[in-house]
């Protein structure tokens, strides 16, 4: 069984933002809040680099540089720090993050992507999200809650209602988020490229497990706080239709540690 992991831009950026500040004892390390999990996966892909597990597409690479450009723009436009202090400091911090990003990109295998080959996959991805957007408009959490509450014993229905209401809300979150937060073109292109790459490898290498490492809930399951209920209708549909397993970097790291020898 071969394994392939395509990393979303959010994973690359989070793994790039880390600085060690010397001058205090011990030195202070400042990092993105997802740095440890994302770098854990990148480290594993680096370890397995001879197996060519970690993949990169031009879309993701361009998007990564574009995110850094947007971060800089926002920093320059909103910072209250005087320019003579901001520019040199931001330049130093940016160089450090860019150097890290460059190092990470070098460990991933660049996949050639022909736009025309991805088009049919994009159409299927778009169709899938359209269906979920329709579903998000009509999903009736109240009906689902009351239907389940009716089955509870009398005297417990108040409590049951509160539990089932929360349950319905939590388990449907990945779909209901589409009422106000829809996947953009870059998201759909990324998934289409992942589906295309799975099909490409499947044709040549028979047994392939294909992961998309992402912190984006348009792909990866939405987890409840403190390990509560998970919402994963979209994740499951992606797995069923496109054979792409979407999950967070730490989950994919765990799977790779067990599966890759």
């Amino acid at each position: 069984m071969r394994h392939k992991v395509l990393t979303d831009t959010n994973v690359l950026i989070a793994a790039s933002i880390c600085m060690t500040i010397e001058g205090s004892s011990p030195p202070i390390q400042l990092k993105h809040r997802s740095f440890d999990n994302c770098m854990g996966l990148i480290g594993l892909l680096r370890k397995f680099r001879s197996k060519r597990i970690g993949l990169l597409t031009p879309t993701i690479e361009n998007e990564a540089w574009s995110v850094l450009e947007r971060v800089v723009r926002k920093e320059v436009e909103t910072s209250r720090v005087p320019r003579e202090q901001l520019f040199p400091t931001l330049s130093t911090v940016l160089s450090t993050c860019e150097d890290r990003l460059r190092g990470i990109l070098q460990t991933l295998q660049r996949e050639p992507i022909i736009a025309d080959d991805v088009k049919p996959w994009y159409a299927r991805v778009e169709q899938m999200y359209e269906e979920f957007i329709q579903q998000a408009q009509v999903v009736d959490l109240k009906f689902e809650t009351e239907y389940k509450t009716d089955a509870a014993a009398e005297g417990y229905r108040g409590l049951a209602h509160r539990i089932y209401e929360k349950q319905a809300k939590m388990t449907n979150r990945q779909v209901t988020q589409l009422r106000y937060d829809r996947p953009n073109e870059a998201d759909k292109t990324l998934l289409a490229e992942a589906a295309y790459l799975y099909a490409f490898y499947k044709e040549r290498e028979a047994q392939v497990t294909f992961y998309l490492a992402s912190g984006d809930s348009h792909f990866s399951p939405m987890k409840g706080t403190a390990g509560g209920l998970t919402s994963r209708a979209i994740t499951d549909r992606i797995s069923k239709d496109f054979h792409v397993i979407c999950d967070y970097p730490e989950e994919i790291s765990n799977s790779l540690r067990q599966e890759v020898k």
Binding site: T9, N10, I13, A14, I17, M19, I21, E22, G23, S24, I28, L30, K31, H32, R33, N62, W65, S66, V67, L68, E69, R70, V71, V72, R73, K74, E75, V76, E77, T78, S79, V81, R83, E84, Q85, L86, F87, P88, T89, L90, S91, T92, V93, L94, S95, T96, C97, E98, D99, L101, R102, N184, A186, D187, G215, D216
Partner: protein
């Protein structure tokens, strides 16, 4: 594009070529690199103080010239050490790898001066700077001390924190 800078680049590239053939450092390269670093430093200061351009455009050009300046200074220092220690061909080989990228970034940013930068042009500058830094890292010519010039540790700490938060916000919006 300033003719004096073009002349300097021409002189340096010519010197590198002849040093490569002779496999020996020509001491005049240090003076040329010093002049180039001075000129790049002036451009860096120009964009730091330029209030006419959009702040983000001024920053991008400042960031580009700061990298060009830092790498040129590092090259000058490597050549000075090479002359003192008679480490001839290695520094020439390293500089031969880096200077085409230095010139390429310089030509790019010079051609963009005076016009508003689109997000695509800014991303292009970021990736060109990275190409240069990648080559410089491979040739051991990344700025060592000079990179933190004009900054203090607390400022860097605050800026790193702000950058991490802004990146988080942007990734959440995406």
């Amino acid at each position: 594009m300033g003719s004096s800078e073009i002349d300097l680049f021409g002189d340096i590239l010519g010197l590198l070529d002849s040093m490569d053939k002779a496999r020996k450092v020509d001491e005049s390269v240090v003076g040329k690199l010093d002049q180039l670093a001075d000129s790049l430093s002036r451009s860096e200061v120009f964009w730091l103080n330029n209030n006419d351009a959009k702040p983000v455009d001024a920053f991008m050009l400042f960031h580009a010239f700061r990298n060009l300046h830092g790498i040129s200074l590092e090259a000058k220092s490597r050549f000075a050490v090479a002359i003192a220690k008679h480490e001839n061909p290695r520094t020439v080989d390293d500089a031969m790898k880096v200077f085409p990228s230095v010139f390429s970034l310089f030509a790019t940013v010079k051609s963009l001066e005076g016009q508003p930068l689109t997000p695509g042009l800014r991303s292009m500058i970021v990736s060109r700077i990275q190409m240069l830094r990648g080559t410089a890292a491979g040739a051991n010519m990344l700025p060592s001390e000079g990179e933190n010039k004009g900054t203090s540790q607390p400022e860097i700490r605050e800026q790193a924190r702000a950058l991490a938060e802004t990146a988080q916000e942007i990734l959440s919006e995406a």
